[in-house]
């Protein structure tokens, strides 16, 4: 076994016991990147020199018997929407090309303090807008299980870096499924915490009332380990919740007999791929065998969540992206006669077509005369969606459902039909609409093409502990997650 294949939690144990050095692991990680990333294109840029220097520095500390920091030199890949001091952060957009942040996002500050090492910035759909990674301005990341297929989006580069052992762990962001969807397409664990659990300071905003930072990992314990570091209140983010952070590794213990599970029948209707359905039903049976009480429920308004979600996300995006005007940083288109021209040229040349589409729709929905019909209506529907979940969570601890209606689709299959692409998020975005925590974990593979299938575990706000406990028990019982590797 190569050291880059290690799970985060096992890596830390081996470093603590001085069985490996941070540098040895780092060398194997970069060796894997050199071997496969030309094909997979998970990374937009690599921090090789900095990472190897950091590895040596931490090894020296360990040699000198200083206290080993909790993440012990862990090699982590970072989605290119999270600001990293001195390392370009451009959100896979031309408009931010060349932007080198002079500050770290709070999550970066926290993981660095805990001893993690940034190995590179990963590809994504531009500004997080997409479900396939095809909306990157620079490259299309491919699925390691089948290189004719997409890895899912928008945190596709982060998911592939973990699934292909080009990183031990990764951070991503999730606005409507952008962590859970690629995690399911790539066969790994993707955790989207409760809105407000993790600071958004230094994370480039797409839709501020929906965005949340989370983890992409090879095991449930790895997600818990990283959540312990990144969770918690931050003065720099006014939407950050002042709620105590438990030790999430404690949640990874056996037993789920005390929990009640809800299966929303609306998630199993038309549009759900048969193999996905069978796999998810098997996973639900496993939960039942483990002693969980499982019952069918209804989320009556859920079919209205998707249009409401896109309206809200687009409206917030049009407002958040108004700041890209070419004045202070990033791209500025030359040869403009006046300031207005410069704005228009910069924005038109700088944004890709999906971003322009969402800005247009968001601007329209917020414009005079249409605000009530679209934006306000969507916010009211959001209330109904939240009520549906509140109702279920009065009686149940956890909701179980598929992560995506289909396994990974072909590159090019949906890119010309935006509306069909949007439907990929149908099972993930209600979680963001209600601000809930959700996790996707592998529950099998399609028979013919061997494509990973994921299922979703959703909990009450700030009850990530229960989600992690359920996922951990499922992982133990099924023995499935990440034991099978793609051949690259």
């Amino acid at each position: 076994m190569q050291l880059n294949e290690l799970k985060g939690i096992d890596y830390i144990e081996m470093v603590r016991q001085r069985k490996v050095t941070v540098e040895e692991v780092m060398i194997d990680v970069f060796h894997q990147i050199d071997r496969v990333d030309e094909k997979l294109k998970a990374y937009l840029r690599i921090n090789r020199k900095g990472a190897l220097e950091d590895a040596k520095r931490i090894d020296q500390k360990i040699k000198n018997n200083s206290k080993i920091p909790p993440l012990a030199g862990l090699p982590v890949a970072i989605k290119d929407i999270i600001c990293t001091t001195g390392i370009e952060t451009n959100c896979a957009s031309r408009i931010l090309q060349g932007f080198v942040p002079p500050y770290d996002a709070t999550v970066i500050r926290k993981i660095k303090k805990a001893g993690a090492i940034i190995i590179g910035k990963t590809n994504m759909d531009e500004f997080g807008m997409g479900s396939s990674n095809e909306n990157s301005a620079f490259q299309v990341t491919l699925n390691p299980w089948d290189m004719t297929r997409v890895p899912g989006g928008s945190s596709g580069g982060s998911a592939v870096s973990v699934a292909a052992d080009e990183a031990l762990m990764a951070l991503g962001t999730d606005t409507g499924g952008s962590i859970r969807l690629p995690a399911s397409f790539c066969g790994i664990v993707g955790m989207k915490p409760t809105y407000g659990r993790v600071s958004r300071y230094g994370v480039v905003a797409y839709a501020s009332s929906l965005d949340q930072v989370g983890t992409l990992t090879k095991s449930v314990k790895d997600a818990a380990l990283m959540m312990n570091v990144i969770g918690g209140h931050d003065d720099m983010d006014s939407t950050s919740a002042d709620v105590p952070v438990p030790d999430f590794l404690d949640s990874c213990r056996e037993g789920i007999k005390d929990l009640k599970f809800a299966i929303p029948r609306e998630y199993f209707k038309e549009g759900l791929n048969v193999e996905v359905k069978d796999s998810v039903m098997k996973a639900i049976n496993t939960i039942s065998e483990l002693g969980g009480k499982v019952e069918e429920v209804s989320l009556p308004n859920i079919e209205y969540a998707l249009p409401a979600y896109y309206l809200i996300a687009m409206a917030e995006a049009s407002s958040n992206l108004a700041k890209y005007d070419g004045v202070q940083y990033g791209l500025r288109s030359g040869d403009s006669n006046n300031l207005e021209d410069m704005y228009r040229n910069t924005r038109t040349n700088g944004f890709g077509s999906e971003v322009i589409r969402r800005i247009m729709l968001g601007t329209y929905a917020l414009s005079s005369g249409y605000y009530d019909a679209y934006y306000l209506k969507a916010q009211k529907v959001r209330t109904l969606i939240k009520r549906d979940f509140d109702e279920v969570f009065k009686k149940f601890d956890i909701i179980l459902c598929p992560t995506s209606p289909v396994p990974a689709f072909k590159v090019g299959e949906k890119i010309d039909d935006p509306l069909t692409m949007y439907l990929t998020d149908v099972y993930t975005m209600p979680v963001n609409m209600a601000g809930l925590p959700g996790l996707s974990i592998n529950c099998g593979f399609t028979a013919k093409e061997t494509l990973p299938i994921g299922f979703q575990i959703i909990g009450r706000p700030f009850e990530e502990e229960k989600i992690l406990r359920v996922a951990y028990n499922y992982e133990l019982q099924s023995g499935k997650n990440c034991s099978r590797k793609p051949t690259i």
């Binding site: 009332s209 202070q328 940083y329 009211k380």
Partner: protein, 97 residues
């Protein structure tokens, strides 16, 4: 079948509001796609929301305040270094009028 919710003039108007300049090809593509998507969004009208309060923010309803004390911030140089269009500590832009 998609309804005709917005026309070409409105596409141009919205692009103007968003400070975007679309070419003819983009205009006709967006005209079709935006109408498809807006038709789909109309599905929300099936719901009666007359008496429903809107949700703008899911978990917090109060503003977050902190003490009004001066804390260190980024040096001006670190921020001005992000652009080459500058002079004497100011951002340089083309003429405004």
């Amino acid at each position: 079948m998609a309804e005709r919710i917005i026309d070409k003039k409105e596409v141009e108007y919205v692009a103007g509001l968003a400070k975007l300049e679309l070419n003819e090809e983009q205009k006709s593509l967006f005209l079709k796609q935006l109408n498809d998507i807006l038709t789909y969004f109309k599905k929300l009208n099936e719901l009666d929301t007359e008496l429903v309060e809107p949700t703008s923010h899911i978990l917090h309803s109060a503003n977050a305040f902190h003490e009004d004390v001066i804390k260190p911030s980024l040096p001006q140089e670190a921020v001005m270094n992000l652009t080459q269009h500058k002079k004497n500590g100011y951002f340089k832009v083309p003429k405004i009028l």
